[in-house]
């Protein structure tokens, strides 16, 4: 068991012994290898996604990272290779969608192929990868990032108060609004509700578009309302759920239910993802939009985009229920070190560098990918970018517990039908509370 020390303690940890364990392990490894064969056999043609970027002539280790925002990650890796010519890194680009990235990394790890040394993890995967024994503890590097990286970003990199990854990139929500239809961005959700419906009726367009399809985006939208109403999913120590305490869960669901029934939400909000919302807002079909910062250049009509609202929109922080504070959910990537890596020291060095090197983090900012280093925001000139810094400083991390994905699916299963009026609110909320509890106990 070469990597036993990396494994987090499991409460009541029953572990297989001796031959049974070995059999089970080779079993799972074989199964994952089989999956790998199947998935590569059926996947996209080579060259479209995945594969090395050919950045280094003598790579010593491999960084597996999302294929979205390719150019940025390439520049970061190139910068490392220029400054560390004897310890060059090669990038392995995964698919651009989160689910496929996670699957590709699972297959690499579970089959014990171990070709990746540094893993670019979505902020919600930390607990799962730590619990599965896939990533090394980086707790000893905590002093290096505390106070340097955004607090929320550090939160997403830890599980049970232990760091398993270091922050790399971040993301937060803007409220996009039409300056020709509303004078001031709303401070509260009630205000948004009233002005949205009013302006929409006058113009014959929709009041609000956003991420309402039944996927992680819906969970983010709901949790932002939930946090805006003062809710927290878990207590400080992440030992029990506080989902139903204080009534925030019901307030948030009630807002969504009314917004859907009264027509604040656009028709088809319940099957809308980021780019559907963006397309409608860009065509001038909505008053408000919740979306990530990527939409700003598109809506401004940059790079040959056609935009009906190029001069008529602005961004603001998302509102809350009492007009105080911000409520965005945190997105982004953390870098972790694979337990199967042969170059753990190098990998650790790279992960730390990507989190704390001012030049590397500034590269992200220059490419419109929100960095996690606080100081980068202070130096920025673009007012939207500085606002994003403020939003991120107050943003909430979705708790990266091992069962986060199950919890997310439970929120989708329970609350999506509820806000559409297809299911009762109360039992749906109770089901989510049970799922939140399960997510902590990791069965």
């Amino acid at each position: 068991m070469p990597f036993a020390q990396a494994r987090p303690a499991r409460p009541g940890g029953l572990r297989p012994r001796g031959r049974g364990r070995r059999a089970a392990r080779s079993l799972a490894a074989g199964a994952a290898a089989l999956l790998l064969v199947l998935s590569t056999g059926c996947g996209a043609p080579p060259g479209q996604e995945g594969g090395g970027a050919g950045l280094a002539d003598d790579p010593r280790f491999v960084w597996a990272v999302t294929g979205a925002d390719r150019a940025v990650h390439e520049q970061v890796a190139t910068l490392w290779n220029e400054t560390h010519p004897d310890r060059q890194v090669e990038i392995y680009f995964l698919a651009p969608t989160a689910d496929e990235q996670r699957q590709a990394m699972f297959q690499d790890l579970q089959s014990r192929a171990g070709q990746f040394d540094v893993l670019g993890l979505d902020v919600i995967w930390t607990g799962e990868f730590a619990d599965f024994g896939y990533v090394e503890s980086l707790e000893d590097l905590r002093p290096e990032v505390e106070g340097v990286s955004l607090d929320g970003a550090v939160d997403t990199a830890q599980w049970r108060q232990e760091l398993f990854a270091l922050p790399y990139s971040s993301n937060g929500a803007f409220l996009y609004y039409r300056t020709d239809l509303v004078d001031e961005p709303p401070r509260t959700w009630q205000e948004l509700y009233e002005t949205g419906i009013e302006a929409a009726e006058e113009e014959g367009i929709s009041g609000f578009v956003g991420q309402g399809d039944r996927y992680e985006g819906f969970v983010v939208s709901y949790l932002e309302l939930f946090w805006a109403a003062g809710g927290e999913l878990f207590d400080e120590e992440q030992t029990r759920t506080t989902f139903l305490e204080g009534g925030a869960a019901a307030t948030a669901l009630d807002f969504m239910t009314r917004a859907h029934a009264d027509g604040l939400f656009a028709e088809g909000y319940d099957s809308m993802v980021e780019d559907d919302a963006r397309a409608l807002f860009q065509a001038g079909e909505a008053v408000y939009m919740r979306n990530w910062p990527y939409a700003v250049p598109l809506l401004s009509g940059e790079a040959g985009e056609e935009s009906a609202v190029a001069d008529d929109f602005a961004v603001a922080p998302l509102p809350t229920f009492d007009g105080q504070g911000g409520t965005s959910a945190l997105g982004g990537l953390n870098n972790a070190v694979s337990t199967l890596s042969d170059e753990k020291e190098l990998a650790r060095e790279f992960v730390l560098w990507a989190a704390t090197d001012p030049d590397a983090q500034a590269l992200l900012a220059r490419n419109s990918l929100p960095p996690t280093m606080e100081s980068v925001y202070d130096d920025a000139e673009d007012p939207n970018f500085r606002m994003l810094g403020d939003i991120l400083a107050q943003a909430h991390a979705r708790p990266p517990v091992p069962g986060y994905n199950s919890l997310s699916l439970a929120i989708q299963d329970g609350l999506h039908p509820a806000f559409l009026g297809q299911a009762e609110a109360e039992p749906s909320l109770e089901a989510v509370e049970r799922a939140a509890d399960d997510a902590l106990r990791q069965e």
Partner: protein, 336 residues
Amino acid sequence: MAIRQSSENGRDGRTGGVPAPRGGGGGSGGGGRTARGGGRPPRRPRRRGLGERAMGRIFLTPSFAFMAVIALFPVFYAVLMSLYEIRGFHQDFAGLGNYARALTDPGFYNAALNTLVFTAASVTLEFTVGLGFALIMHQAFVGRGLTRAVILVPWVIPTAVAAQVWRYMFDHNPGFVNAVLGTDVNWLRDPVWSMVGIIAADVWKTAPFVALLLLAGLQTIPKDYYEAAEIDGAGVFQRFWSVTLPLLRPAIVVALLFRTVDALRMFDFAYVFAGYSNSLATLSVYAQRFLVAEPRLGYASALSTVTFVIVMLVGLAFISRMGRHMVGDTAREVKR
């Protein structure tokens, strides 16, 4: 039936080494050909060394080994994996625990019910529509070739692609289906209408396949029977009921078997329309959920094993229930 009889004999001839009457078209010419066939030497001289059977087995071994590796191994491996609780690098032997969990999991029953509803509705509709298509395509009329080609177009489109297109058409924005039907239905997120949606899409997609199988069956029915029935005074419906349907039974059984087994494994439409949502999740989607979204390889294997067993049982039930008639008919006809 002359056709079937002679082909049966032909098969016997190959395995037993007895020269067979070569199959011919009409029953009238058969006798003469049999006589010609009987003129050959009855037996080949015995060779030394390995017998024909042994040689056959040796030649077949690679194919069987290949089949075992690609078809049987994964099945047994999945069964083996289903006995473990697997979370990343931690694995425990769980015995039948995963199966016990599946049988107490409301999500599993929900998926089973969805699968059942989908299968019953889509297979019934596909059979009805497909039979209609087949009867049309079987008629001689101008442009028959073109009609056949057009009807088969949906079947040629890959299911995943078709599912994406249908999802787009059902979507509220831009709302093609609602515009055409003049309705205001939430096709993707209403639990009842979304099921109607995937059934409609699947019928559109697979009815041509059923039509193709049934058309092949129709073309084996000799015209003589229809002529005879017509002379005896049978009307159109009586001819359909008493001649076409009984003689089409083998093709019908094959079509229903294929479609039922396929529908029970349905993944594409449900997943593309609603992801892992309970409102549409079939057994395959539910198993996939634990393979990818909530990775528990052991539980996922148990779920897919249960699905496999269900599909296999249904398939066997088809073959033994309806198939026996087929086999029985053939046997009787051969004896005649």
